[in-house]
Symmetry: C2
Subunit: 368 residues, 2 copies
């Protein structure tokens, strides 16, 4: 049995239920969850913007302790601290073999099926399958994931902090250092001061950017960006964001602009505030049907690069430990990212706060 | 005096007139033109799609012989064969200093003013200035350009062929080898079988692409793409281009897709036929107000790179000689690019043929 937060119908609150949990099969790992973050991607599913099979256990940004391992598991053992990897890459598709496990074909397939690789799930309710978001199903006291989805980490880090590494930190820091390859002395703009935006900012600061302009519509969030390394802030309700960034860069635009909201208009803004030959990185997740409008003449004449970043173009087995080492060395600030802590029973309150824009990152702390 | 083709009003035929030509000032070079290509960019100006001061001498893809040099000119001397460089980069702006002379700020300024760097022109008619397109003004028996716009070349190449190097060849080949960095064994799609498209194809072939899919709506042009190295052709009037490319690549999409027409719809097609993490390069020039629509969710989740290429991201003083060496070595096919030869007096016939889609590349050959 495992107490979990289940989505039965789009738009409805999550329901806390005791699910049946099978035992880990070959190559699978049972994890006792300790902490899980409330991410906008989970919220997108609740709202029906990312259609998935229901009922489903959401949650994908999580950390816990290995409770039991299935046959053949070699990379973790009972008692190990782990962070879940919501892109459990197969290692054999063309993307995995060319250094892009973030784009693994098998992981993309599992994102759509809501299952483990064999097409089934380990959760059930009254004999019927309950699906697992991104294989993780992290909003549950216990979950069972493929071995490659349980990344062992150092033991001296609080679970709440470790959980964040699994999504918002790798996504934001990775967008800056892997996708954009922000270089020392460069200029950066980040649209969206939230869990991901803060991490883009601290990734850019870590990489030595000389100017980091944070853009949002909430002054309190903008004030927080200074903690992570922003040098300037723009409130886009008061000033036109593109004009403000041009003003701050002698009319040139920034070397790198990031969008971390998921709105087509702000994605276009990010492109328009990037200098010629600069790089625009889209990190925010839009609804599947939305489109961004880009000026066609500017594509050749300004030769900017417009790209996107998924999981921070990262490789969790390599990057989670590295990011936690940076945290331990005082080079990444993770505690300030956590704005509220909830019990699993309070999860709907947490999503309500997320929806209202109050929370940067709410965290579920599982009871002992 | 110099006989030249002058645009007095948008939408009207060019008028052949005897213009007054000043002497080259300090740092300028007078060139006796031998050949000049009829490019779509010239045609865009005739139609009023790229607003410029009038009257103007068009033409920017040209080759000739140095007739006279102004004070202080050191890189060329009388009698040298030269190809005009329509992006005469300043060498001192931030783009020039960071290896991107194609995006030189000063050259971009001159594109808009229709003048030489000092703000004046060397052509006049009845005492009034006549402007020079891209500093070149190549549709004239003689022209005067900045020293950096006259690139010395080997003498054993026909002028008609040399002229092409100056725009369609560096633009197309450069888009493949500099911007996209097409790699051996990769897959490529090129939308638009014209002067630039053929050169993208042969650039990709030179770089070792294993599959090169040419897309157009004219079967005769598609047939010609085989000459330049296309392995497959798709007539987009008969088949949906994106579906056809997916079919030819096991549903994956190509590593690199290029658009060489300048239409927003085909730019979006190029993006949509690119595989995850692949590169889409826009080479075609759209009208200034047009926009391309890109799926917003795909930007992070598929992490493609959408970029553009201007002057093939090239550096004429380095690239023109290199491209001509490749031609001399039999590695670039340039004669087949020339579809018709005209005298300067016949220039309006040449543009009519360009407009009708008959011509790949018409060339003006200047009389002795």
């Amino acid at each position: 049995m495992a107490k979990a937060a289940v989505l039965h119908r789009y738009g409805e609150p999550l329901s806390i239920e005791e699910l049946d949990l099978a035992i880990p099969k070959r190559g699978e790992v049972k994890v006792k969850m300790k902490a899980a973050g409330l991410c906008h991607s989970d919220w997108h599913v609740v709202q029906g913007q990312l259609p998935l099979p229901l009922p489903i256990v959401l949650g994908h940004e999580g950390a816990g302790i290995v409770e039991e391992v299935g046959e053949g598991v070699t990379s973790v053992k009972q008692g190990d601290h782990v962070v879940l990897n919501w892109v459990p890459s197969c290692g054999t598709c063309s993307y995995c073999r060319t250094g892009r496990p973030d784009l693994c074909e098998e992981a993309a397939r599992l994102m759509a099926t809501g299952t483990l690789p064999d097409g089934t799930t380990r959760f059930s309710l009254h004999g019927k399958s309950v699906y697992q978001f991104l294989t993780a199903g992290a909003f549950s006291e216990y979950t069972i994931v493929p071995e490659q989805a349980a990344i062992p980490i150092r033991r001296d880090v609080p679970f709440e902090v470790a959980a964040l590494i699994g999504c918002s930190v790798i996504t934001g820091v990775g967008a800056a250092i892997h996708t954009a390859k922000v270089s020392p002395g460069s200029t950066v703009a980040v649209i969206g001061a939230g869990g991901v935006g803060f991490n883009i900012i601290q990734g850019a600061a870590l990489a030595g950017a000389k100017q980091i302009i944070a853009i949002d519509v909430v002054d309190e969030k903008l004030a927080m960006t200074k903690t992570f390394g922003a040098t300037h802030t723009v409130n886009a309700r008061e000033d036109d964001a593109v004009s403000a960034v041009l003003d701050l860069t002698d009319g040139i635009g920034v070397d790198y602009a990031f969008e971390a909201i998921g709105r087509p208009e702000t994605m276009a803004d990010a492109y328009n505030m990037t200098r010629k030959a600069g790089t625009t990185v889209i990190v925010g997740i839009a609804a599947p049907h939305e489109t961004v409008e880009i000026n066609a003449f500017s594509l050749p004449s300004q030769s900017k690069t417009l790209t996107g970043s998924w999981l921070g173009q990262g490789n969790p087995p390599v990057d989670y430990p590295k990011l936690l080492d940076l945290y331990a060395a005082g080079k990444l600030k993770l505690e300030p990212l956590i704005s509220a802590v909830y019990s699993l029973d309070q999860i709907n309150d947490g999503f309500a706060a997320l929806k209202s824009g109050q929370n940067i990152r709410g965290i579920i702390r599982f009871e002992e």
